[in-house]
């Protein structure tokens, strides 16, 4: 079984976002970068699938700059076999991203493609289903757990109001959400082994973004901080404020 996992380098979720002077990008100086948390779930899911089937190759792919090698290395340390760095800029246009990734999927023709349900930087939530559509593959989004049943993947999806079970043939594209795949920690042995594993880099195929970011701003600060009172005795006043001042109940 051959599995491709798409991972993205993003600012750590602890980051306090600052806007660059150009007003249309994020100031990344001093920002710590990590692999997007949902992509780590996807990596874990790939590793467990291989453990279950007892064989196969896992390839991690990222579009990014040279720094993204670090994220590929981490994936290799977790147990992934090889990494591919598509050197280029990522944009908010998920279709452009999907086109790039599509070249790798086309080339490797994997039995399973895993992505995160969303990248926690631009939150576009689209790359997986777009990639699947471009490749004519089946796709389930927001998968919290899946298992291989013969030649099919049976996936559990968390959706509004409930849980759905869908079945997809080999070759499927799944976007993973939080659920069964808490990522493992990397061991020292894994880190050592990763040094010998290959990372191939090549220029990202040309894929222009047609979604232009005109500006990025910080949201208005909330003027919070009004303490109504202490303990249960403050409740009647809170209820009055919610009714008469905020008019929300």
């Amino acid at each position: 079984m051959k599995i491709v996992v798409c991972i993205k380098r993003v600012p750590d979720t602890e980051t306090r976002i600052r806007v660059s002077d150009d007003g249309r990008s994020i100031d990344t100086s001093g920002v710590k970068f990590v692999t997007s948390p949902y992509d780590e779930f996807a990596l874990e899911a790939a590793l467990r699938t291989r453990e279950d089937t007892g064989e196969g190759e896992i390839v991690a792919v990222t579009i990014g700059d040279d720094d993204s090698r670090e994220n590929l290395r981490n994936a290799l340390a977790m147990g992934v076999d090889r990494g591919i760095l598509l050197e280029g800029r990522t944009t908010h246009d998920g279709l452009a991203t999907a086109r790039c990734l599509s070249t790798i999927v086309e080339e490797l023709d994997p039995d399973l493609v895993l992505l995160g349900v969303k990248a926690v930087d631009d939150d576009q939530q689209q790359t997986g289903p777009m990639l699947a559509t471009l490749q004519g593959r089946g796709c389930a989004t927001g998968v919290s757990e899946f298992r291989l049943d013969g030649d099919a993947f049976v996936c559990r999806r968390e959706v509004e109001g409930g849980r759905e079970t869908v079945r997809l043939a080999r070759g499927a594209v799944l976007t993973i959400t939080k659920g069964a795949y808490e990522p493992r920690h990397t061991s020292l042995k894994g880190i050592m082994a990763a040094r010998k594993k290959p990372i191939e880099s090549r220029p990202a195929p040309d894929s222009t973004s047609r979604l232009e970011v005109r500006s990025i701003e910080l949201p208005p600060e909330r003027e919070g901080g009004r303490i109504v009172g202490e303990g249960p005795d403050a409740v009647p006043e809170l209820v009055r404020l919610l009714r008469e001042e905020a008019e929300v109940i």
Binding site: I17, D123, M130, G138, C139, E158, E212, I227
Partner: protein, 329 residues
């Protein structure tokens, strides 16, 4: 004439007097561009009963693609139908709701049409004929304005971010012939199991009662459930990640950067500290109430109203007071 298509998930979800948010937003934009709005309803037979009332929010025509095989949402089946309607109708703009379904469907349609997509848009504006979408990024820690250079221009619109208008004349309903062929669909939907028992999903609820680690254990959630129930049928339950990680509540209820981004009219954060990842997911709520025994908890910095105190004392009292108001349950 600029043609705008607005996908409507369920014509019965909103009483006609309230109108539909996506159709309303499409109509406001169409008015500025000098265009016309069509609504599209996809579903089982009878899905669009009362569809003409979408005219109330500004739709001129309501297109209905009804078929027994489309009764439940199916990603491949719906993508096929919506793509065809967009192509055949020559729409310049396509809006869908940013619900779980809408966000699943829109990228599939966009890829079929070879156009980019702006997901989870919170505002639409037009300047010099160019449509600009506002969308939160970093789960709401920053706000981006984006434009799309493609035809059609596609976006999903976030709930509660757009007001709905009502009062327009009724629309003409047109049915569309569809002939779904499940043999061509790669996805087989096996089952759906409802988990929330009629309670609105946290991302849809207009009031959210959210609990944190300070609630001490799942056995205490009845306190929050009772408060939620007193707040009426628009209220849903949320949780912090600490609670979800501990297995006290399902992940579907997690609010924050690695959970759901919500913006209800009223958000009650109970025994939640207010970590940056949690704030990211709820800071755009209308009114925020915090109940926490630590006066220094960061949640108070974003809360409109706070009570410093023990949740186990404050919450039952709040339930009692609100229960006394008799909100529609």
């Amino acid at each position: 004439m600029t043609k705008v298509l607005a996908l409507v998930e369920d014509t019965t979800a909103h009483p006609p007097a309230e109108g539909d948010e996506v159709v309303s937003a499409a109509s406001r934009m169409a008015a500025e561009l000098g265009g016309e709005v069509h609504a599209l309803v996809v579903g089982g037979l009878g899905v669009a009963s009362g569809g003409e009332s979408l005219g109330s929010s500004g739709a001129r025509v309501v297109k209905v693609a009804a078929h027994p095989l489309l009764e439940a949402y199916h990603p491949d089946g719906y993508a096929e139908v919506v793509t065809r309607v967009v192509r055949d109708g020559g729409y310049a703009h396509v809006f869908m709701p940013a619900s779980d379904r809408g966000r699943d469907l829109a990228p599939r349609v966009a890829a079929r049409l070879d156009v980019p997509l702006a997901q989870d848009v919170t505002a639409v504006s037009v300047s010099a004929g160019v449509v600009e979408f506002t969308r939160p990024i970093y789960a709401g820690k920053a706000i981006a304005r984006v434009t799309i250079d493609a035809h059609p221009c596609m976006a999903t619109l976030r709930r509660s971010s757009f007001s709905s208008t009502a009062g327009g004349p009724s629309a003409t309903v047109e049915s569309i012939e569809v002939d779904p062929d499940p043999a061509r669909w790669p996805t087989e939907v096996e089952s759906f199991e409802a988990t929330t028992g009629g309670i609105p999903d946290v991302a849809q609820a207009s009031i959210v009662v959210s609990g944190g680690r300070g609630m001490k254990g799942p056995e205490n959630w009845h306190l929050l459930e009772e408060l939620r129930s007193a707040l009426g049928r628009e209220a849903g339950l949320g949780a912090s990640r600490a609670v979800v990680d501990a297995g006290w509540r399902p992940h579907g209820e997690q609010v924050g950067q690695t959970g759901k981004t919500v913006s209800p009219r009223l958000y009650l954060a109970i025994a939640i500290s207010g970590a940056i990842q949690h704030l990211a997911g709820m800071r755009t709520s209308g009114t925020i109430v915090a109940i926490n025994r630590d006066p220094e908890a960061p949640i108070f910095k974003v809360a409109d109203y706070g009570i410093v105190g023990d949740a186990f004392e404050v919450v039952p009292r709040l339930t009692e007071e609100i229960g006394g108001l008799g909100l529609p349950g």
